[in-house]
């Protein structure tokens, strides 16, 4: 029989980094910034958490304070991805550089940054441990509710995850509500659709772009942190995060810039990522199944542009910088 509960469970685990990434990127893109640096930022978020956790684990010794063990990596991760997004904002908003080029440079830098410190951290601090394994911290990250095991399939399906899986969903819902229901969200969408009009209406375009891009980057960075601390049990492997950052950007299109659809989409993409384990296919066709998320995304992109439905278009000023003087 098809192990449906286990499949959904693993799809959710696999989809969570994508959910963080896409929620962050949706928030960013709503301000008109197409941040192609998200894959790099996710690496930075991951490795900064690892660096924080590594230093905490080596100073704290055997007994870890659960609160600090969660808090220090989390803070380091947020700080790292904040600084990376700030750099992106500074270059594109203040220095008016091309967004695509800046984003790609940030991805090159971020992936390199992650792999470099992941591969050289031990050497750089002259530590005796053979590899970075933050298993104790990861165990704390993966703590589930104590009664989850006793609830059968319901517990497996809904309660068997570490807190970051729920955090991803909560953040997506918050972003969706803020975008849809609040004045701040309305202003932000105005900035992304038509910055000149927003500016004329007295909205501080620069401030909104900075705030949404930095916050979006921080949320995306959490995806990297989740991947290391929860999904891989605290073991960093170079390039292990793979192309998930780009998949997150694909998911933004798939979700037509709506975080709520992003939740379902991320689990769907997560499911496609691991589907080959569950259906009787030969090893050979596995890549073709892994290709599906991208093909589906392209189809969505094409259909949306052909149908021209106003609800599901990209923000009109996406990828374009705003020059007040150029009007």
């Amino acid at each position: 029989m098809f192990p449906i509960v286990q499949f959904i469970q693993r799809a959710i685990l696999q989809g969570t980094p994508l959910l963080f990434g896409s929620t962050g990127e949706i928030l960013t893109e709503k301000s008109g910034n197409l941040n192609l640096g998200i894959p790099g930022i996710m690496y930075i978020g991951g490795i900064c958490g690892v660096i924080g956790g590594f230093f905490y684990q080596s100073t704290a010794g055997i007994k870890l304070n659960p609160f600090l063990a969660i808090f220090i990596p989390l803070l380091c991760s947020l700080l790292g991805s904040f600084l990376a997004s700030l750099l992106y904002c500074f270059l594109t908003v203040t220095l008016r550089a091309n967004q695509n080029v800046t984003g790609l440079a940030l991805t090159t830098f971020g992936v390199g940054f992650g792999n470099f410190f992941g591969g050289s951290l031990i050497k750089l601090v002259d530590s005796e441990v053979p590899s970075i394994a933050l298993t104790k911290i990861a165990k704390i990250y993966k703590t589930t509710l104590p009664f989850a095991d006793s609830l059968g399939w319901f517990g497996d399906l809904f309660l068997s995850y570490g807190f970051m899986v729920y955090l991803a969903v909560v953040l997506a819902i918050i972003v969706a509500l803020v975008l849809k229901k609040t004045r701040i969200g309305l202003h932000l969408r105005a900035v992304g659709e038509n910055p000149a009009t927003a500016d004329a209406a007295g909205i501080n375009v620069t401030r909104y772009k900075y705030a949404s891009t930095c916050l979006g980057g921080m949320i995306a960075g959490l995806g990297g942190l989740y991947y290391v601390m929860d999904y891989t049990n605290g073991v960093w492997s170079n390039n292990g995060f793979g192309d998930r950052g780009w998949l997150a950007i694909a998911l933004v299109i798939f979700a037509t810039w709506k975080p709520m659809i992003g939740i379902l989409g991320s689990y769907l993409f997560g499911g496609l990522y691991i589907l080959f384990n569950y259906i009787p296919v030969s090893m050979q066709t596995m890549p073709l199944i892994q290709m599906l998320p991208y093909v589906v995304t392209i189809l969505v992109l094409v259909l949306v542009s052909i149908r021209k439905s106003r609800e599901s278009q990209p923000p009109a000023a996406l990828g374009l910088n705003y020059y007040r003087e150029d009007r």
Partner: protein
């Protein structure tokens, strides 16, 4: 001007510390000076970081970088130098390929995929026809197949962009991963052992001949010819003119009777085709093997190279040299000190940030707002 404010009201209407004015026409000299200054600054910055991480002295680091890129006294065959030239040729080829599309403001982020699909087409030809048809014919078939594959990968997004305005940045980006997974599929089919490369032991035929005993020379010559052709195409042909007009303003282009849709599709066909050739050079001329990381992010680096050179093919030679030399040099530094080879990506990223940032200072002038003399006297 608000000259006679008391300090209190001045606080309310506080002027910013600096203001920005757009420069008029920037002289070539100023622009070049600013860029050179940015590159020097970034190199100094990279040097400081390298010193901090390795603890070595700067001169020996620069010597290591130089040796990594150009070889040392033991390397009498100039193997390093040839490998560096070969890397420059491939990156330059891809940069040239993306340039026509960028000049048209078509954000083709799919060069990686277009190169990879060219690699795949080449490898399929070598795999299925190798040994069956004579090598010269095989190379010809490889050329046709790789160009066609690249054209297909380029034209597909262009078609939807031209007719329905589909976002090309995202479309081409997704096509990269379709190409990667297709290669993975090919690897699984061609090599049953499940390894992640199919190497020269399987792709035995269709290798480019070595000229004068140098196996990379043909690649380099081909790219040199392509550089000249792209330069002429963009600067001195009607097509090149149409590309610039569409890039500046689609409405103007339409008004003067340019068929914008046709130009978009045609230009992307050229871009994709050249990427396909880069794939051919990679598989047929250099590695004789295929893996999904064969393009090694060069499709993305090329975008930055092209943009940094302001779409000028001759400037691109310089930017490519800078990036490749630095890349190979810093890989050498990291291996010398037992650090991870991604070190070069960090340095590349830093240099790119500096160059990206300096464009602002070419287009705009930053001036500090002068304090009012009258107020100074009052305060004193």
């Amino acid at each position: 001007m608000q000259n006679n404010h008391t300090p209190k009201t001045q606080k309310r209407t506080r002027e910013p510390l600096l203001h920005i004015t757009k420069r008029g026409a920037v002289s070539m000299k100023t622009a070049v000076l600013i860029r050179v200054a940015a590159i020097l600054l970034s190199l100094i910055f990279c040097g400081i970081i390298t010193i901090l991480l390795t603890g070595d002295n700067p001169i020996s680091i620069y010597i290591t970088i130089f040796e990594g890129a150009f070889g040392n006294a033991h390397d009498t065959q100039f193997l390093r130098l040839w490998a560096t030239l070969q890397d420059i040729a491939i990156l330059l080829c891809i940069s040239l390929a993306v340039t026509p599309a960028f000049k048209m403001r078509f954000w083709n982020t799919g060069a990686e995929g277009q190169v990879l699909i060219g690699c795949l087409a080449t490898a399929i030809c070598m795999f299925t026809l190798g040994g069956i048809v004579p090598d010269p014919l095989l190379i010809l078939i490889m050329l046709v197949a790789s160009v066609l594959a690249g054209v297909l990968w380029g034209v597909l997004p262009a078609f939807f962009k031209a007719f329905w305005g589909t976002n090309e940045t995202l479309f081409t980006l997704m096509m990269n991963y379709v190409a990667i997974q297709l290669i993975e599929f090919f690897l699984k089919v061609a090599d049953k052992s499940g390894s992640n490369t199919v190497g020269p032991n399987i792709l035995k035929h269709g290798w480019f001949p070595a000229l004068f005993g140098q196996k990379y020379l043909l690649n380099i010559l081909i790219v040199a010819v392509i550089t000249a052709l792209v330069y002429i195409y963009l600067k001195h042909t009607k097509h090149g003119y149409e590309i610039s007009v569409v890039g500046e303003s689609e409405n103007t282009a339409r008004y003067i009777g340019i068929n914008v849709k046709k130009v978009i599709i045609r230009t992307m066909a050229i871009s994709g085709g050249l990427c396909g050739i880069a794939g051919l050079l990679l598989v047929g001329g250099t590695s004789h093997s295929i893996a999904s990381n064969l393009a090694d992010g060069r499709g993305f680096t090329a975008i930055m190279v092209s943009w940094l050179a302001k779409f000028n093919p001759l400037m691109m030679i310089l930017t490519t040299c800078l990036l490749v030399v630095l890349d190979r040099g810093s890989t050498e530094v990291s291996s010398k000190f037992g650090l991870n080879s991604s070190f070069s990506d960090i340095l590349t990223g830093i240099i790119l940030f500096f160059i990206i940032g300096c464009e602002f200072f070419i287009q705009y002038r930053v001036q500090f707002n002068k304090k009012n003399h009258a107020e100074k006297e009052v305060a004193a």
